[in-house]
């Protein structure tokens, strides 16, 4: 006779009055494969932890977003936000879908050029652009989104030595009725700073003002706020037309759309509260179409969505290192994924799912990472079925920011694989070797020898 599957014995105190976890027998389905690729095999072939990106999900999400906007507005252009995930393979998926590149540093700019993005299809954002960066961007004809007056004057000065006319947009910050108000980037709308900057640019006569840009915040759950932002940019565009008889080519609404991840402290899960692309698109395009902008000169609607296009496509696969019972009786599970690989665990309650079959009995668990540091907590409270050493877990919706904000700490960063539409895995960034990390280190002569 075949022996029964052994599940670790668990006993759970029934909390009277507290939410009982009944009715959630189907809360978890194991994630045993990602886009048809077996999690166990991925770990066997590429190690654990392992970042897994789904090409299908990226393309589907992008197409869904593009459809939402392009069915409502005649001219729509996305620009892939490099800082969200600048693995070249990932960027190129977006470029093959038609996305331009949106970069915020000289490093990202060069990355986009190396990926083969034509310089005239790069938006250069952010407060940190060196004079060299600006010179390069002007000569190549990229779009520079000016963040502050110092940058504007640097560009005006550069026109004295460069023959190409800089193509610029200004970033505008404004009150859209939401908190917090991002006032640190760009020029303020309400106090007239943005209009002031526009006048300086137009009166310099050496610079082409091609666009208006805003980026009202991050993880914005209120689509209507984008409507307010779009109306304000439209008003600026109309004012420019009236005063200078000049039409801006595009209005760039930036990014900041929420993903389905659940923010810490939120009562309802992100999957319930996250607006759809249709809702964002409706708010933005309605505001633009109903604005006084001359309909024969409708600007291109530019979007720089990052998180909402890539979060769902990323998974972090890990392995249970140990279980341990804390003195207060709570179960702690230690996995090989630390906060250095999952930066977003500081603000999200990431969904953690076992990769193998289990029963509906769960225990309140705290998930620790492997770093020898107290802050290394992946989830503080999560109902998980019993898992044993060596079991695999899958953390979902990690595609945004984790592969750019990660830190090399204590150990080396793992492989990133991309699952293509035929369920085939491709390494898109190999795991680090000690040599990768140490080759730039130098030891002064007097520290080379010691005796212990």
């Amino acid at each position: 006779m075949e022996k029964k599957h052994f599940e670790r014995p668990i006993i759970k105190k029934l909390q009277t009055g507290m939410p009982n976890k009944f009715g959630m027998k189907t809360e978890y389905e194991p994630i045993s494969e990602i886009d048809g690729a077996s999690v166990k095999e991925l770990v066997a072939n590429y190690g654990s932890p392992l970042y897994v990106m789904s090409e299908n999900t990226i393309r589907e999400t992008y197409r869904e977003a593009y459809r939402a906007f392009s069915t409502r507005y005649p001219k729509v252009q996305f620009a892939w936000s490099y800082k969200t995930n600048y693995m070249n393979a990932i960027c190129n998926i977006f470029h093959t879908e038609g996305s331009w590149a949106e970069v915020v540093s000289g490093f990202e700019y060069d990355k986009a050029i190396n990926n083969g993005v034509p310089p005239s299809k790069i938006l250069f954002n952010g407060p940190d652009k060196s004079e060299k960066d600006l010179e390069k961007a002007i000569k190549h004809g990229s779009y520079i989104h000016i963040d502050h007056f110092d940058e504007l004057y640097t560009i005006i000065n550069l026109t004295n030595k460069i023959k190409e006319r800089p193509k610029v947009a200004i970033r505008v910050n404004m009150d859209c009725g939401i908190y917090p108000l991002w006032s640190r980037f760009g020029f303020n709308y309400e106090n007239g700073e943005a209009w002031e900057a526009i006048n300086r640019i137009m009166l310099s006569k050496k610079i082409d003002l091609v666009g208006l840009h805003c980026h009202i915040g991050t993880y914005i759950l209120a689509p209507w706020a984008y409507g307010i932002a779009a109306s304000k940019l439209a008003d600026l565009a109309v004012a420019i037309e009236k005063k200078f008889n000049h039409y801006v080519k595009y209005i760039d609404m930036g990014g900041g759309f929420a993903s389905k991840n659940t923010l810490k402290g939120a009562f309802l899960p992100g999957s319930d509260t996250c607006p759809t692309f249709d809702q964002y698109a409706d708010a933005i395009t309605t505001a633009l179409i109903n604005s006084p902008i001359n309909h024969e000169h409708l600007p291109v609607l530019m979007l720089e969505s990052g998180r909402s296009l890539i979060d769902d496509a990323g998974y972090l696969v890990g392995t249970v290192l140990a279980n341990k019972r804390l003195p207060e009786g709570k179960l702690a599970t230690i996995i090989d994924i630390g906060v250095n690989l999952l930066f977003t665990s500081f603000w999200y309650d990431h969904k953690v799912t076992p990769a193998q079959q289990f029963s509906h009995h769960t225990e309140d668990t705290i998930i620790y990472g492997p770093l020898c540091m107290n802050i290394d907590i992946i989830r503080e409270n999560v109902q998980l079925p019993p898992m044993k050493k060596g079991d695999n877990i899958v953390i979902s919706r990690i595609g945004a920011y984790n592969m750019t904000q990660w830190m090399q700490f204590i150990t080396l960063r793992p492989n990133i694989v991309l699952i293509d539409s035929k369920s085939k895995a491709h390494v898109i960034r190999g795991n680090e070797t000690p040599d990768n990390i140490m080759k730039n280190e130098l030891v002064p002569e007097h520290l080379k020898k010691f005796e212990l």
């Binding site: 009277t16 009055g17 009982n20 009944f22 009715g23 189907t26 809360e27 009562f267 899960p269 319930d272």
Partner: protein
């Protein structure tokens, strides 16, 4: 007249010192002349008293909290519906309304009737948006502002003066007399219901309430004003009396007309000493004191069920003023077997 047999699912069986409206709603339905109801209780927690009131609730199912995700809640409801054939569902918790409204059309597809506000109506009356609401519909509201962090507490004055109210987005409200108390209540509420926390100017006066039912076209089907006579330390009415106050009714009709409100609602108003009314909150559901309205002549839950079933409903035009309700508590004796059955099977 022969009564129609129907099955109604009701949540909010927590008939505690901070009661949910479930039990009073059921009592109202049991007294209906039109319906012979079978009641399916939906319980989130295993000690909700209604679970064990077998003469009030015919059968109880535990359901997962909306915080688990509405798909799980919907799955569970589909399962319950497959057994019980629910005709109408009346959700009674604020915290579950978002989910029920968002999947309302799916409930309708399954054949379950509801009478809920639209998502726009639900969203725009949020405590965080009260100032805009007041402006849009021409109603006096106390000055308020949502805050997301403790750091914002220091900048509350001079915009606000103490005392002020600290409120959660779903439940809980405390009066704070200084910034220290604000931060205390901020933490207390934030751990339970999340941010934002609403800071509201405290307005002196008498709190008065109106229960109302809107037909979704701007008409008031029923409306009864009430003043709380005795308030527990949780701020809940433990006794109240119906009022004959045309100003309150006018205000209520105005709001229902302008918003085309669909569903039950409770208006919380402050009547100041110079007879001004300030809207302090709109609860987008039937309040726990609904049975007073029934006693005063308006069976609002019955009317709501009729609307949910697509029947025509004649608006109530009168009610008795000076009717009182006095709440009391009652100790039931419950066998452990019942607790066990609910805790392990999720049904009773």
């Amino acid at each position: 007249m022969k009564k129609t047999k129907i099955t109604v699912a009701v949540s909010g069986l927590n008939n505690t010192d901070n009661p949910g409206p479930g039990i009073p709603v059921i009592r109202a339905l049991r007294e209906s002349d039109a319906f012979d109801v079978r009641i399916i209780g939906l319980a989130y927690e295993n000690l909700e008293p209604g679970i064990y009131m077998h003469d009030v609730v015919d059968k109880v199912y535990q359901v997962p909290y909306p915080s688990i995700g509405s798909d799980k809640l919907l799955q569970r409801l589909a399962y319950i519906h497959s057994i019980e054939k629910i005709d109408v569902l009346i959700p009674n918790f604020d915290a579950e309304l978002y989910s029920f409204i968002s999947f309302e059309h799916k409930l309708h597809e399954m054949g379950i009737g509801t009478w809920l506000p639209t998502m726009e109506q639900f969203e725009e009356r949020h405590k965080t948006k009260l100032p805009e609401y007041g402006k849009k519909y021409g109603v006096n509201v106390p000055h308020s502002r949502p805050i997301n962090s403790i750091a914002e507490i220091n900048s509350l004055t001079p915009e606000f003066s103490y005392p002020l109210l600290v409120k959660g987005k779903f439940y809980d409200a405390y009066v704070a007399f200084n910034p220290e108390q604000v931060s205390l209540y901020f933490n207390k509420i934030a751990t339970k219901w999340g941010v934002p926390i609403i800071i509201q100017q405290f307005i002196r006066g008498t709190e008065v309430n109106v229960i109302a039912l809107g037909d979704g076209k701007g008409n008031t089907i029923g409306a009864v004003p009430m003043r709380k006579q005795y308030i527990t330390d949780k701020g809940k009415a433990w006794g109240g009396i119906t009022l004959d106050d045309q100003n309150m009714l006018d205000l209520c009709h105005k709001i229902l007309k302008k918003t085309k409100w669909k569903g039950g609602m409770e208006l919380e108003l402050i009547k100041t000493f110079d007879n001004k009314y300030y809207l302090i909150e709109i609860n987008p559901r039937i309040p726990a004191w609904v049975y007073l309205a029934v006693g005063a002549g308006q069976n609002i839950p019955e009317a709501m069920v009729k609307l949910a079933l697509g029947k025509k409903v004649k608006p109530f035009t009168t009610y008795e003023s000076g009717k009182m309700f006095i709440r009391y508590s009652w100790d039931m004796i419950v066998d452990l077997k019942e607790f066990e059955q609910l805790s392990t099977n999720g049904e009773l």
